[in-house]
């Protein structure tokens, strides 16, 4: 099976600081691996263990070697892609990257909570179906078998390639690569390309008019020593009618 794993295609929301006036400042203006990217990568590796290839795809100013230090042999990097508020625009760039790789059976992407529209729009740009919210994937008889939780049920689906699969992480990344793997990653091939070379034009159709703080009341924090703080908390909860 020939698979592509998309990674590091958005900024990390943890790098966004919200000021008192509601404006958002990006302390680090770099694309970072998403919190689900390692799960997408694990699914990609699982799908290609018995023969097949896994190609990494990243875009923007992040570190392309992230996947190369984690078992991916080669990657494509769309170097001049920028963050978008429009998930369909981000997806258009990733779709162009996938097309540049050639024949692909499955594209794996982290099912990012911040950008839930990206995997489904990516599939639509490619003209493929999308299955999202998946936790594991395996190759079976030339098809992709995935598992996801729906309500109280664990659902197993069998998907005919080509297909886009979005994988949600069930835990934080447990195995972080060591120095040897990081150094080896630097030697693995990265094909650098640009939006112009890929022939993709993603005008931002959305006009940002600024940000504000949510209208919801801020957290009411009880200060002081634990005895007094907890007495105040219990009084407040009784007032709310939840005790």
């Amino acid at each position: 099976m020939r698979a592509v794993v998309a990674y590091t295609w958005a900024r990390d929301v943890a790098d966004a600081a919200v000021r008192q006036d509601g404006t958002v400042e990006w302390r680090k203006d770099k694309m970072s691996p998403g919190e689900d990217d390692h799960a997408a990568l694990a699914a990609g590796l699982a799908l290609t263990t018995d023969g097949g290839t896994l190609v990494g795809l990243t875009c923007g100013n992040g570190d392309a070697s992230w996947a190369l230090a984690r078992g991916v042999e080669q990657a494509v990097h769309v170097t001049d892609a920028t963050p978008h508020d429009d998930d369909a625009a981000t997806a258009a760039v990733l779709a162009a990257g996938v097309r540049s790789i050639g024949a692909v059976d499955v594209v794996l992407v982290g099912d990012s909570e911040e950008h839930p529209g990206v995997p489904v729009a990516l599939a639509a740009h490619l003209g493929w179906p999308a299955v999202v919210g998946v936790t594991t994937a395996a190759a079976r008889d030339g098809r992709v078998e995935v598992v996801r939780t729906v309500g109280d049920l664990e659902e197993t689906l069998s998907l005919a390639p080509p297909v886009v699969v979005a994988v949600a992480a069930r835990s934080a990344e447990t195995r972080v690569p060591g120095m040897k793997e990081l150094l080896a990653a630097r030697k693995r091939p990265v094909t650098r390309t640009t939006l112009a070379e890929l022939g993709v034009d993603v005008p931002d159709t959305l006009v940002a008019r600024g940000t504000r703080l949510p209208a919801t009341a801020p957290t009411r924090v009880f200060d002081g020593e634990p005895g007094e703080a907890t007495r105040q908390l219990v009084a407040a909860l009784r007032n709310e009618g939840v005790l």
Partner: protein
């Protein structure tokens, strides 16, 4: 997609937020159509939610709704609605994505409200992990992943006509090959009160402290992802978060939980969230209703005492 496109489509695969989306679509002006992909009961619920019409498609037994994405996209191309709305649920999201790209629509997640402004639509949506709200103007077609509050008080509206959506488009080759109980704890899922613990807990034996608070409150014990998945201190079916339990207790007490977006998605429907954390900068203090900054080892015994007095 022409600039004259009007009307809104609400794409629904379940009843959650359906009434709220119809109401939001209604406020934009123009006709409102619900595209219901699921059983007849869903189409009936859609009809009663107040749209002008319902397009209904029922997947065959083993077909996931995603198999019909191309079908819904083709119908969207014919009707050319100006705005699409759907929840972030996996099935609805896949249908929305397919229709959005077909219409050349911008896809905006976390949409809380929408309004018409001239030829365009202006949305407010969640930004910076929910810590801010962004305003975006959409001069062209828009596909909104709706995250606004559900409308549980929706008035019963006259029933809109239901038309079967059938243009002969073949479904994609996706099949459900197995369904099994996930082993999620109904105890946590249905509890009125939940006490949940995160990485602030230093040892498994200290769970006794958490359990003492839970028992005082008559609450179920839950946890954040690492406590179940990495440490294995609490049963996995008790872990609350995006890929775990999504719960709606009246009271949720988070002990030593930093409040990652991943975790908070699981308690978005909780009525009152209380956070105890020794880090005043913890993200949970941006979304909780009440907080105490302090070590849970000091605060929990004091809280048990305060509840008992």
């Amino acid at each position: 997609m022409s600039a004259t496109a009007t009307g809104a489509w609400v794409i629904a695969t379940e009843e959650k937020r359906l009434a709220a989306m119809v109401r939001a679509a209604r406020a934009l002006g123009g006709t409102v159509t619900v595209v219901a992909v699921g059983p007849r009961a869903l189409a009936d619920a859609a009809s009663a939610a107040g749209p002008d019409g319902v397009l209904w498609l029922e997947p065959a037994g083993a077909e996931p709704v995603e198999a019909h994405a191309a079908h819904v996209a083709a119908a969207a191309a014919d009707a050319a609605p100006r705005t699409l709305l759907a929840t972030v649920e996996p099935g609805a999201r896949a249908l929305l994505g397919a229709a959005a790209v077909r219409l050349g629509a911008a896809v905006v997640p976390g949409v809380l409200s929408l309004r018409t402004e001239g030829e365009g639509v202006v949305v407010e949506c969640s930004a910076a992990g929910g810590a801010a709200i962004a305003t975006l103007a959409c001069p062209g077609p828009l596909a909104a992943l709706f995250a606004g509050d559900d409308d549980v008080t929706a008035a019963a509206a006259p029933s809109a006509p239901v038309r079967v959506l059938d243009d002969g488009t073949a479904p994609a080759d996706l099949r459900v090959v197995g369904r099994a109980a996930s082993g999620r704890s109904a105890g946590v899922r249905d509890a009125e009160r939940v006490v949940s613990v995160g990485r602030g807990l230093k040892a498994k034996a200290d769970l006794a402290l958490v359990e003492s608070l839970a028992s005082t409150l008559g609450a179920e014990v839950a946890c954040s992802m690492p406590v179940a998945e990495d440490l294995g201190w609490v049963a996995k079916e008790r872990y609350v978060g995006r890929s775990g339990q999504h719960i709606s207790p009246r009271l949720y007490v988070a002990l030593g939980i930093s409040g990652t977006p991943q975790h908070m998605e699981g308690v978005r429907e909780a009525k009152v969230v209380v956070a105890v954390n020794n880090d005043p900068a913890a993200a949970i203090f941006r979304t909780a209703d009440y907080g105490i900054v302090g070590d849970l080892y000091d605060v929990v015994p004091a809280l048990v005492a305060a509840l008992s007095s």
